[in-house]
């Protein structure tokens, strides 16, 4: 963990640090999750396995998601009856911090232009075998589209609506893809990191409080 003073306290200024598979320490998975990993890696090609704090994550290509989820639900060994959650994270484009050198006290940056991505995490849970893991995929953040999984788990219907509303992912084949939290005529998708936040006007000499992502505190 970093100590005080290191890192940029103004973290939210768009310079998101990308989570790298190489930088995340490889953690021992439990016996059950190791079986899940072997089963899925043996079944699907190109799966990238990562683990953090004992949780299993399998990164796949967007077009693989429906097949993998259907397999997770129907396979006896996996038997994931429940799509627990569909989560999303927006990683905007721009320069990313490649390496933070802690010993010198000054972080070293190697600028790297990365395209913006939206991360989708499908968290599936098996009641029978009592395991939970996530299937992760990345979409480009402009014009993001992926096939719906609401035909596999109907719980995805309402969660995909929220994802569409909040980060603007187009779920192809969704029966009723409309905004759910925001009004229908709303512009923009609030959970995107490039969504404008707006500052606060102060009743004194025309001063303003800057938007939260531009504050120095």
């Amino acid at each position: 963990m970093r100590g005080f003073g290191s890192g940029n306290p103004n973290m939210a200024s768009g310079e998101a640090v990308k989570m790298r598979a190489g930088r995340v320490p490889e953690v021992q998975l439990g016996e059950q999750l190791a079986r899940v990993r072997d089963r899925l890696v043996g079944q699907f090609e190109g799966l990238e396995v990562s683990g953090f704090r004992g949780e299993l994550t399998l990164v796949c290509a967007p077009e693989q998601v429906p097949d993998i989820l259907e397999f997770c639900r129907d396979d006896d060994e996996l038997s994931c009856e429940l799509l627990s959650d569909l989560s999303w994270v927006h990683w905007p484009s721009g320069q990313r911090e490649e390496e933070a050198e802690e010993t010198t006290g000054w972080p070293q940056y190697r600028g790297e232009d990365e395209p913006g991505r939206i991360e989708l995490d499908y968290i599936v849970r098996s009641l029978r075998h009592n395991h939970v893991f996530r299937i992760r995929t990345f979409l480009p953040d402009s014009g993001a589209r992926i096939a719906t999984v609401s035909g596999i788990y109907r719980s995805a219907e309402i969660m995909e609506r929220e994802a569409y509303d909040m980060v603007g992912v187009d779920f192809e084949g969704h029966p009723d893809l409309r905004r759910i939290m925001m009004p229908d005529e709303w512009e923009g998708h609030p959970h995107r990191k490039d969504y404008p936040l707006g500052g606060v006007e102060v009743q004194y000499h025309g001063a303003t409080v800057p938007p939260p992502d531009q504050r120095s505190y």
Binding site: V24, S84, S87, I123, L127, M159, M181, Y217
Partner: protein, 463 residues
């Protein structure tokens, strides 16, 4: 009323107003079965014009708006109901009236401040929100095993009491919705004994912000055990009274039995968890499946029913309150001494509170130490309070069994002092998604009982 004037099919669709989408969505099995392929126009009816409406309605289908300001919709839930006579053909829930952007708000504040926000999501079970969030932060920090035993036991006591108070509010409100004002006044009265205890411990009745990353905001007062013993004995009597009042009550039974059936397969498909799933016969409880805060060391049963209807959910919740009391009783006996915050000074909240003549406030002893004696302690305090702690990058999913089901926190950190993203999987939100399935084919009055039996809390749905 002239029907032609009132027909407004080309009105622009606003906020889930279903002029267009009712038409496309009427392909639900029930609608097709009843021969209603085409949806009718939308009629706007002003007051006193209802008597003219039946002539204007084609196909005997009527779209009625219920809520968002309806006393029986548990807050601001709006349902656009398509009715065939008195039978519900389709139900489109419209939500978002209580959307406060809490998930986004968390991204711009230090990790500790998040507790204050998440406790306001599902306002009937604030402790569970705090616990789920704190467990996720602690897992990211890698200090899950360092949480003091005393803090974990108090967390269990407080969350299980929250479960009882939440179920009591459920009982009170659904009693009121079905016409039983006695259930309402007793439910709220009993809940008050728990909220009084919370106020005694945390200073606040609700939205306590008591559970913090690393432990608790402060220790329980000295005579906590006495107060808790009184609450337990009082509640166990009162829960029996509820059973006497309602379980055999003909009206209560008639309104709930066989209503809003949701089978186990449907529950799992729709992501419905908690008492609703257990009432369908599946003994799934995260307290057993994925125990947190040492809850596995207490002896309690997972309550199930096999009727899968609203009455089964009532029985499950009543019995769950008793099981929670059992857990609280055992936890109280097992309550060890010691600190209630992790030892790591880089994480532990530095400020100390003390009980003064005017209530809980800053500890004068602590203030005089950082202001008068130790410069380093002041700097440390200042840094930790203004900037908070840094959390290693990573992503975790932590779920707790809230009174409504699986409450999951999917937290992403990018290695700074603020969350990069916090996603909350609220059980009520998934329950709203199950509403069309639950209410299809019900009579309109049974929709009330059906919605009540799912127990959605709109603060958690909209976040």
């Amino acid at each position: 009323m002239s029907a032609d004037e009132q027909v407004a099919p080309d009105r622009p669709a606003r906020d889930g107003d279903d002029t267009g989408s009712t038409r496309t969505k009427l392909d639900r099995a029930t609608a097709v079965a009843s021969g209603a392929i085409e949806a009718p126009h939308t009629y706007t009816v002003a007051s006193q014009e209802w008597e003219n409406l039946p002539d204007a309605v084609e196909d005997d289908l009527m779209v009625i708006n219920m809520g968002p300001q309806h006393p029986s919709t548990h807050g601001v839930l709006r349902m656009v109901l398509t009715l065939d006579g008195e039978t519900v053909v389709d139900n489109k829930p419209v939500i978002g009236y209580l959307h406060t952007g809490i998930e986004k708000n968390l991204e711009y504040r230090p990790w500790v401040m998040g507790v204050t926000f998440v406790t306001r999501m599902d306002y009937l079970s604030p402790m569970f929100n705090e616990l789920g969030y704190c467990l996720a932060v602690e897992k990211l920090l890698g200090i899950t095993d360092d949480i003091p035993e005393r803090a974990s036991v108090i967390r269990v006591i407080m969350t299980e009491l929250t479960r009882i108070s939440s179920h009591l509010v459920w009982l009170a409100t659904s009693g009121l919705e079905l016409g039983s004002t006695s259930a309402m006044i007793y439910g709220f009265r009993e809940r008050e004994t728990i909220l009084d205890l919370f106020e005694f411990v945390t200073g606040l009745r609700m939205n306590n912000a008591y559970i913090r990353p690393g432990g608790l905001a402060q220790d329980v007062p000295d005579d906590f055990a006495d107060r808790l013993t009184r609450v337990i004995s009082e509640l166990s009597d009162r829960i029996n009274e509820f059973e006497d009042l309602l379980t055999g009550n003909p009206v209560w039974v008639e309104r709930n039995k066989g209503v809003a059936i949701l089978s186990a397969e449907q529950c799992l498909d729709l992501g419905v968890t908690g008492p609703v799933l257990r009432a369908a016969g599946i003994a799934h409880d995260l307290r057993k499946a994925a125990p947190y805060s040492g809850i596995e060391q207490y002896d309690f049963d997972v309550v199930i029913a096999d009727t899968a209807d609203a009455f089964g959910r009532y029985l499950v919740r009543i019995q769950e309150m008793r099981e929670s009391l059992r857990i609280v009783g055992q936890a109280m006996k097992a309550l060890p001494g010691g600190p209630v915050m992790v030892a790591d000074r880089k994480i532990a909240w530095p400020a100390q509170l003390a009980l003064g003549p005017d209530g809980l406030g800053n500890s004068q002893e602590y203030i005089s130490r950082i202001m008068g004696q130790s410069m380093e302690a002041l700097i440390h305090h200042f840094k930790l309070v203004t900037q908070g702690f840094w959390v290693p990058e990573g992503q975790v999913y932590c779920a707790v069994e809230s009174p409504r089901g699986e409450l999951g926190y999917h937290v992403t950190s990018n290695g700074t002092n603020k969350p990069y993203r916090v996603r909350v999987r609220d059980p009520s939100f998934l329950h709203i998604g199950a509403l069309p399935e639950v209410t299809s084919g019900l009579l309109l009055p049974d929709v009330i009982a059906g919605v009540a039996s799912l127990d959605p809390v709109m603060g958690g749905v909209d976040r």
